[in-house]
Symmetry: C4
Subunit: 392 residues, 4 copies
């Protein structure tokens, strides 16, 4: 079934769909890029023995080959992407290549041939492979957050950069005036003085150009403190923007997961909006132990999808989609009475003990519902066990 294969491969290479082979693919992906770049970098080292030189060159070529294959694969599976029902395969492929990620993939493939055409030496030819480094962003969800933050805060950031520029222009002109006589080599023109100014304003301080006069040094002191202040402002803006954007994304992601847990369906929308801020999504691999018998309770969990085995006696019970567990230790304050293990890849929502107490205090009806659900579940389990017992 070639069609099914394409669907499968589409899931493997996608950043969001969790296929069993996806982690392996990603490892290979990052290893190829890293190896290719490392070889390309090492190859520029002068005086390498010819054998090492060749090994490096071939590593780069092999890495390029793998990236060509990867590009072909992505081109092939492009029609399997979401919302692709009514659009032709060719249009979906064009859409992939013209998108930001597809374009980087395309450039990465072109890098080496372009280098061969333009470069005179093979080390120079390889330099175009630096474009591969952009592929490292593919699975980094944070970059989109970063770009959103920069877009949201662009007015404030632009103001800080304007201030930065004006301080830079003023200080390099003043440094030129104060220092040009004593040090004509490093402060002999404003562009030269500007090099000093930027090195000082960012508090980098190479030391290849330092003022020597009293006025120049006083100016330098003020420039340094301005540099710290400008940087402090930038930190403040980016830190705030980042925190807001992350909160917004977490809210959305958790909301989607909460909607899949039946327990939350009946608690009313107002409570959900409150609960969503407290729940934290968590994905665990098979055989992960969430907590052990005898530990202190740190959180309770809701199962979005997957299966958890509670190591109860006489026989373990298994909980799956929509169930919750771990609430006993939080309610009673006693230690965990059983060990909880994921039997397969499981998606959970965890509710921290601090938030649990806070929530239980402000919304006692939630605690009651948890009690009732837990009671019901225990009865069902007891019945199942009673039914299962005679068979043994």
């Amino acid at each position: 079934m070639p069609f099914l294969d394409r669907q499968r491969f589409a899931r493997i290479v996608s950043p969001s769909d969790p296929d069993r082979a996806a982690p392996g693919f990603r490892l290979a992906y990052h290893a190829t890029i890293t190896a290719g770049l490392a070889a390309m970098f090492a190859d520029t080292w002068p005086g390498l023995p010819p054998m090492v030189d060749h090994a490096m060159m071939w590593t780069t070529i092999v890495a390029w080959g793998v990236l060509v294959l990867e590009f072909a694969l992505r081109l092939w599976v492009a029609p399997s992407a979401r919302h692709a029902d009514s659009v032709s395969d060719v249009r979906m492929r064009v859409h992939y290549i013209t998108g930001p990620r597809g374009f980087i993939d395309f450039l990465a493939v072109l890098a080496l041939p372009t280098g061969w055409v333009f470069g005179t030496e093979h080390t120079d030819a390889n330099l175009f492979c630096i474009l591969w480094s952009l592929k490292l962003f593919r699975y980094s969800t944070g970059l989109t957050v970063l770009l959103s933050v920069i877009r949201n805060e662009r007015t404030a950031l632009l103001s800080v950069l304007t201030t930065f520029a004006v301080v830079l222009l003023l200080s390099s002109t003043l440094a030129y005036i104060f220092e040009r006589e004593g040090q004509p080599d490093t402060f002999g023109s404003i562009p030269s003085a500007m090099w000093w100014a930027i090195v000082t304003l960012t508090t980098t301080g190479y030391g290849d150009a330092t003022p020597a006069t009293l006025w120049g040094r006083s100016l330098a002191g003020i420039v340094m403190v301005c540099g710290l202040a400008v940087f402090a402002l930038m930190t403040g803006i980016l830190a705030n923007g980042f925190a807001q954007e992350l909160r917004r994304r977490d809210f959305l992601r958790t909301w989607d997961l909460v909607a899949r847990v039946p327990y939350f369906r009946d608690v009313g929308a107002a409570v959900i909006a409150e609960v969503v801020r407290m729940l934290r999504p968590q994905e665990v691999r098979p055989n992960t132990i969430l907590f052990r018998r005898g530990e202190t309770g740190q959180a309770m969990y809701f199962i979005v999808s997957g299966e958890i085995e509670m190591g109860l006696r006489p026989r373990p019970i298994r909980l799956s989609d929509g169930n919750f567990f771990g609430e006993m230790a939080l309610i009673s304050g006693s230690d965990r009475s059983a060990t909880a293990t994921a039997t397969r890849r499981t998606l959970l929502l965890s509710l921290d003990v601090a938030d649990f107490r806070d929530l239980a205090a402000r919304r006692p009806e939630l605690l009651k519902a948890i009690h009732e659900e837990a009671e019901k579940r225990r009865l069902i389990n007891a019945g199942a066990m009673a039914a299962a017992a005679p068979k043994d």
Copy 2:
């Protein structure tokens, strides 16, 4: 109609009134300043060929000419400013020149002539043009925010600067005591040692003066850590102040826009105060595509002014001031059913999906009102389309 022209020019040069020619004016404004400053800077480079030297000199002079014209223009339009009804033209012009921005414009015009009077060489004469860099702040709304923050947090900032000063004084005295014997050149007096201290306290670290004794180095380690701590405090103060001030300004700006959307008139003041914090003003150029058919819904929009075309079938509909759109995908969770494009410069308020859900959960009546409005709009559109259909 010369009077109308003046009004038009007043709008073009103003930072807030959006005239069609305003972006072009601003581009020319910033280009002139940048070119003038760049030429002035390049001109200080020693040993330029006479032709380049002349070109640079003339670029500066032309830029100055443009700034003189700009100053004249602003002086001419000054009486068209707001609240100018009852005041004479001359008073408004004096008011403009004595204000912070007008004064900078005035200084910028005077810079070159002053230089010619005092400077011996033409490169030195041009140095006064560095005052032009202050004109970069004119359209930077952030500078006023920056100044507000510094004014609001002045007590805290002053404390940090006092701490900075005391650490600086103490450390330079101690460094002088520890290092003066070993390095009489760099630590031979307290003012010299102070140069080392400020370079170290700001963690710039030029390396032109470094302690060599055990005591001196231990002191340097403490000074560096103090520097980081002082800087951390400054970051904290400015970051907090900036966040508060931006929030305050956003609140005011959004409130003014919300008041112009009829839908919000009936929801009650208490809800508005809550909604204002969630809405984000957004200005889009003509032909901007806000979202495409088939995309996931990220936000809904309220039109403050302008026009949006929804690419519905069989024929697109146009929405204008006071309407809202994009709510369908947020309510149903389905994909966008139509592409939304701005037909002209449009001012929108966007409500993010995260905030939409949060709001819908806590204020179900708002969601209901949106439903009703949407239904009504659909009926009107259906009627309009039915009426329009026979004509085709």
Copy 3:
């Protein structure tokens, strides 16, 4: 009346009681310390002409004399401090000297004589005067905030410093191992390597010791990033702590002032707790113009103490303790109808337009009360003016 004089002087030197002569005293205080320290610093410059040397020396001695007088003055007025009713004068003076500020004053007085006893040269003798720099903290309210923050966050800060120390120890040992053979001078022992490590970890980077081997440089890269991370944590802790502490202090200070405004007495404690967070205390000098006729309304004001003149026509009215003003422009959205000027030193609480709208939306009863009060005031004023008119 010598007793009254002492009370007066006590008010002048105190950081909180506002006496008319207090600003002058503070200026003289800071000028003396600055001049004394500057002279002491300049005096260490080698090869000064004897005349300058003498001038510097005498400046230091005169500054010391002033500080001795100041100490005597403070000792004299110590019994006039608060809570001093039942305690003897001698005990209050001992209390002053043993307190942190009194002790610094005492040390500052002792500094010069101690130097004369121990120092061989007069420049060395003066070095003890560096203790005067601690007196700069006296009127800096922020230092107590700083100390509170450090005390509140000491656990977290200690953890960061421990991490800092462990990274420092590990990296200097590793740098010693990697670099000792190539650079025995700078990395020949762990203490030497530790100098490199602290210069790198704080990202100061003098450049007097830099690793040359591949391992050493890789280590350096990691150390630099760790340095940034450690510093980021410190920034986070201090920034949060500072923000909390400032908010707490503002709350307390504003609460005390709100209690003195009659309008707030009847609005209920729950509303006050909310309002206190929005009001900002503001102290203005005589003849300060708060806003001008025709400006946009940015805030309304409550007078805690002092007097404000509203430039109304036909004749200005004067408002004093407990009144409020500036609410008209906020309610109607129109421009200021009169100019407000402080006739003497006035303490105000300002309510920002953003907060005013927010508050008016959530607490309509407050707005109503403001309306009624304003109406009442206007009637009284009208009556007063009617009564005053015939006299003209």
Copy 4:
């Protein structure tokens, strides 16, 4: 009673159980590690006189002996840890050694013997003792917070590090292209250029490699600003994460303590959740003076465990577990009427005056309950005093 001894020792070495001898033990613990590391470090100094060399060597050996003893002690008391009831002694000891802290203790013991086996010189042999530095983390509660923060924010941090890496790769390749001809020594290969790039991106700026061409310097300027931006993002992420995690931990710890104060039992869970955020746990040593008669009231206190003596007249009264005090000055705004001293190690919850007022305004019933409790207590005290009086 050897069994009792073991329990006692278990309490002494534990980070949480407060035994009288615990502070002494911790001091000795940290002193041993510091002395051992200092001796090991000093020993690497070349050309030490043999006697000093010997002293250092022996200090290290003695410190090692103490750490061996400490390890043996911890191994011995391991079975006394919590939840150890049903598990054999051997299993508890294995559990201790395989845990993170036990493993570090084990490595610390092995460090010196391992060094003797592998090292040729005794200074090299001692280098393994650097592992002792990890033992400094044992009593640092913040490290676990730090690790939680890094775990919680790992996605965001990874994005920042990816951005950091891509900027590093791009800038070193570009610097290599721009500068390789002019400076073949420092920019002759990409790995060499990468050294420059990381030194610049972290704004360390050693100055051993600086670009000299116009393009190289422009690149350097951009790299420095990127470095500040990357760092600003890291600061933002870590600062936010740290604040959240600390708040969560404080909430949990305070909740446990609040549960032990009877006064809070009747106020209802919803109020407790609110109060917990305002209370601050505080542990005071015997004879600590919390406040003195005549001071301004800054906080009220609830006693979790211990005893406080109020210096009332005619005779002091003693308050113990569950009582509260210091509320009078907050309610009336008057000064403290009595001095409060801890008679033994006392655990308190303090409620700041700002929070007290805020709480009293929003929850008047709490204030009323405090009034009633205070009244009741005063009556009982009066009765006790009346009963005690005749005895005198």
